[in-house]
């Protein structure tokens, strides 16, 4: 069996789980946020009654992160709906905006706060819930109705996905990051190349990556249509998880004779920095081949590219240089925000490096312009801007106006592009 099949079998109390089986699995965590939480609560109350209680008040994790720093009244009302629900239900984990418990982007918050553990099942009302497969668990995005169901029962009927294996071996050249690996794979198989499937990543390159970089890879499994991304846990995973939580967990890995829908092998030493051009994450080109392409702004942030390591990589490129275009820095969480003002490169903090390079002052942590949002959202493309971004989607209008264009890149490529005002391979600055 594959790691995905083993986790699902355990969660359904069965010995086996075969691709295509429809099984009821128990959830270990249900995460929701301000965009889908109110609707989920609406479904929960409609179906289970006004006085119903969630199945486990310690397993429902609520992380408002999308529309936080906006004047939009409806957005505030939605966060208030969450507050009221948390109080009435006695929900234990709630990261409330405007209070010391506020954290920021859900997918960076979940592992930081110890809610991700190997071998578990995590459902979230957000498609990038697949991020958490990087910690060796089954994690997938669901809609409000399914989430309302989980809220009441702790269970969900799901179809066991067939697994596709991606084996990446070899040493990554300097300037090439996890983001380049996943964009390359999506470029290869297409935005529907893994529809309904589990994407399992393995090989010496994956093993060499940090847990955060592995998260970048699994984060974008959904961009190939995947149901989940997954990486078998190793010592790094275990050390990371143990540093965040005392809860016990169980590690699984795929059997040698596990069955895969397909197996693809890559030689990482041949990888180069890439970008995904508008308007699709699979429109992948070598950054060096696009070096004359002018851009208007750069955005470094989100669950994909707004983690501590992303900012370290960006700062390494920006140190001692100046940006030519407007450059937005949006730490994903409060913890990342703290880290960029304490972590140093060459005696300077990352924040100092960004400031000296001429970037905009870092914004408070949230999803911000990653998904456009209300018109007053920080960094939103309100006109026809062309933006190189460390986010994960570049369909029409993703970062704001319909006329804007998003080019997906790693933090290094984004930083290098900011320096030249054109798409740039980070090795060329």
């Amino acid at each position: 069996m594959t790691i995905t099949e083993k986790i699902l079998a355990k969660a359904s109390g069965k010995k086996d789980a075969d691709p295509g089986d429809n099984i009821w699995v128990s959830a270990d965590i249900l995460m929701t946020h301000d965009v889908c939480g109110p609707g989920t609560i609406g479904v929960f109350k409609r179906e289970f009654g006004e006085d119903a209680k969630v199945w486990d008040r310690e397993k429902v994790v609520i992380i408002p992160d999308h529309y936080i720093f906006t004047a939009d009244e409806m957005c505030h009302r939605n966060v208030d709906t969450l507050r009221k629900f948390v109080k009435e239900q006695g929900i234990k984990y709630f990261y409330d905006p405007g209070t010391p418990s506020y954290s920021g982007v859900c997918h960076v918050t979940l592992p930081e706060k110890g809610h991700c553990r190997p071998g578990e099942v995590l459902f979230g009302t957000d498609s990038h819930t697949c991020t958490h497969g990087a910690l060796g668990e089954f994690a997938t995005g669901i809609g409000n109705t399914d989430a309302g169901f989980v809220m009441g029962t702790g269970k969900l009927l799901i179809k066991v996905p067939a697994s596709m294996k991606f084996i990446i071996d070899g040493e990554l050249p300097a300037g090439v990051t996890a983001k380049d690996i996943i964009l390359r794979i999506i470029g290869d198989i297409g935005v529907d190349g893994a529809t309904y499937c589990a994407m399992e990543f393995a090989g010496s390159t994956i093993e060499s990556l940090s847990v955060e970089e592995r998260m970048t890879i699994c984060n974008m499994a959904i961009e190939a249509g995947g149901k989940n991304g997954i990486i078998a846990p190793d010592e790094k995973t275990i050390a990371y998880v143990k540093s965040k939580t005392k809860k016990p967990f169980e590690c699984f890995k795929s059997d040698k004779d596990a069955k895969y829908l397909s197996v693809k092998q890559y030689d990482a030493s041949k990888f180069v920095p890439v970008v995904a051009m508008p308007f699709s994450p699979d429109n992948v080109k070598n950054a060096a081949d696009m070096k004359d392409f002018k851009i208007d702004r750069v955005y470094i942030g989100s669950c994909t590219g707004g983690k501590i390591e992303d900012f370290k990589m960006a700062a390494a490129v920006l140190a001692g240089r100046k940006v030519k275009v407007k450059t937005f820095i949006v730490p994903a969480t409060v913890e990342v925000e703290k880290a960029i003002s304490t972590e140093k490169i060459g005696g300077k903090t990352l924040v100092q490096i960004f400031e000296e390079a001429g970037c905009d002052k870092p914004a408070p942590p949230s999803c911000a312009a990653c998904l456009g949002g209300p018109v007053d959202t920080f960094g939103r493309c309100n006109n026809d801007e062309i933006c190189v971004s460390t986010t994960n989607r570049n369909f029409p209008g993703r970062m704001g106006s319909k006329g804007s264009q998003t080019i997906l890149a790693s933090a290094m490529t984004a930083a290098a592009s900011a320096v030249r005002g054109k798409i740039t391979d980070p090795r060329d600055v």
Partner: protein, 182 residues
Amino acid sequence: MSHHMIKGKVFVVGDNIDTDQIIPAQYLNLVPTNPEEYKKLGSYALCGLPDKHKARFVKDGEFKTEYPIIIGGKNFGCGSSREHAPVALGAAGTKAVIANSFARIFFRNCIATGEVYPVEITKEDLNKELKTGDEVEISLERNELKVIKTGKVHKLKDIGDVKEVIESGGIFSYARKKGMIK
């Protein structure tokens, strides 16, 4: 859901119509379970399509579409897990989306909510053959789509093992029927 025959005008779109095009993120402050906001979501359905689409799915100032059927290409509904997407389409009066393939979460949300039927085409690219405004008739019993003008009949894929969930009226009724919940 009990519309086994669906008849009306089609609205034709291309491949990879993502959830931001179906319902742009700025409208996600609307909560689908509030009836007033549900209705409003309908008025924004497919308003994120690039301007090269001349026909509007829902006209300015209206809440309902004149097109009960959407004809898409590959990977319809890719992107986010927002249930606002099938809900916006359903609220606008869409009955079915016929496409070459669907993104997983969108497909699942259609079924869980019972808002629209997501049906796959067996072979041909219907979105190349049909034009917005063409009239068709769909039978979900026979898995067929008939083009009224030409009389040509296209085979649709059987919706498969989720049929039982749809027929029960979504995940909640299904679970109740199976005795999973009260």
